[in-house]
């Protein structure tokens, strides 16, 4: 039995919309749960924070407990970009390209104060924070940060991933190679 209100699309949610919304929410929640516990990281290690990163990934602090165990040294296989260390102006195009190569969904962690803000390298060569180059999800300060700080950052990132909206496909056509707009 239809009324006049039902003729206006998108205003009054029907029980069908409710059901689809609830299903999407369930799917999103499940996908978020799966994605937050299977972070494949690409370590972009440029400086001394790399030592702390090794400690973090090794047995004592054991990033595997958070599902982020396996560093992939190809950006095509990764979904978490960890920028570990100072990024200078010469390195910035490389970082930008690595970030563009990682396929969606992708997240970025700025590991250490140099990646977050340039640190004390306020000089002619250093990028003042990688968020001038690529968008960043979690900043971990410290010079270098304690492994516990990074674990806290990973847990914050997991909470963020869980809260994000996930779906199976974007519904958009895939870009044709060679025609995608190239940003520099």
């Amino acid at each position: 039995m239809s009324t006049e209100l039902d003729a206006i699309p998108g205003i009054i949610p029907t029980r069908r919309d409710d059901a689809i919304g609830a299903l999407e929410k369930m799917v999103s929640k499940g996908l978020g749960w799966a994605r937050k516990y299977s972070l494949f990281q690409y370590p972009f290690v440029t400086a001394c924070c790399g030592m702390e990163y090794m400690t973090l990934a090794a047995a004592r602090y054991d990033l595997d407990r958070f599902g982020a165990a396996l560093p992939r040294f190809s950006p095509r296989q990764a979904d978490l970009l960890m920028v570990v260390g100072t990024v200078n102006c010469k390195q910035a195009p490389i970082l930008r390209r690595v970030w563009e190569t990682i396929s969606e969904p992708k997240w970025v962690v700025a590991f250490g104060v140099c990646a977050s803000s340039g640190g004390f390298y306020d000089n002619y060569a250093t990028v003042q924070g990688i968020d001038r180059i690529i968008p960043v999800d979690v900043y971990v300060p410290g010079c270098p940060p304690r492994p516990e700080q990074v674990l806290d950052g990973i847990m914050m990132l997991q909470a963020k991933i869980q809260g994000q909206h996930h779906q199976f496909t974007e519904g958009k056509p895939l870009p044709v190679l060679g025609q995608a707009p190239r940003q520099r």
Partner: protein
């Protein structure tokens, strides 16, 4: 090491007509012998130091430059030399004027001088003739200027990619700076 080497050098490169090749010998703060070398005789002095049987300075551990802004001549290139057989070290200083910042390369004498001279060119803009690979060492080719010169602005960043807008925050420096000249 009591100035043996440096006195021998001064004695050998005396030239009353065109001026002495090695002048102003003194004992440096760390005990190393230092002397000023004329630019025209630099390669000759270095070759003598390496090849002479008494000297055998077969290694150049460090070559760098200094910018004495406001003085004339402005630059100075410093050659730290080591004789591994005698365990002697000396330091040669060569004055270079800003308008004519060109030196002969010593790559033909010590192959290890290659990157040091590229470094001096990159950071101070001192050119080296007959250098086999005369490029910048650290900075990228698009970079304009020489960052360790005293008149280069401290924050003279020259980014290669367009930087995103971020809010101004007290704990980090500003973005790409204008080259204050």
């Amino acid at each position: 090491m009591s100035k043996v080497v440096i006195d021998a050098l001064v004695e050998r490169f005396k030239d009353p007509v065109q001026g002495d090749g090695v002048t102003g010998a003194y004992e440096g703060a760390g005990g190393d012998d230092c002397a000023f070398v004329k630019r025209e005789r630099l390669v000759e002095v270095c070759r003598f130091l390496r090849d002479d049987a008494e000297m055998q300075f077969n290694m150049a551990p460090y070559i760098t430059a200094v910018d004495y802004l406001g003085q004339e001549p402005r630059f100075e290139v410093v050659y730290n030399l080591l004789s591994t057989t005698r365990n002697w070290r000396i330091r040669l200083r060569v004055k270079v004027a800003e308008q004519d910042a060109v030196l002969p390369s010593v790559c033909g004498i010590w192959r290890g001088a290659n990157w040091f001279e590229r470094y001096c060119f990159d950071m101070y803009g001192i050119h080296f003739t007959d250098h086999p690979d005369h490029r910048r060492l650290y900075m990228y080719d698009e970079f304009v200027g020489h960052p360790l010169r005293k008149d280069y602005p401290l924050r003279g960043r020259q980014p290669l990619v367009t930087e995103l807008e971020v809010p101004a925050e007290p704990f980090r420096g500003p973005g790409p700076a204008e080259r204050g000249e």
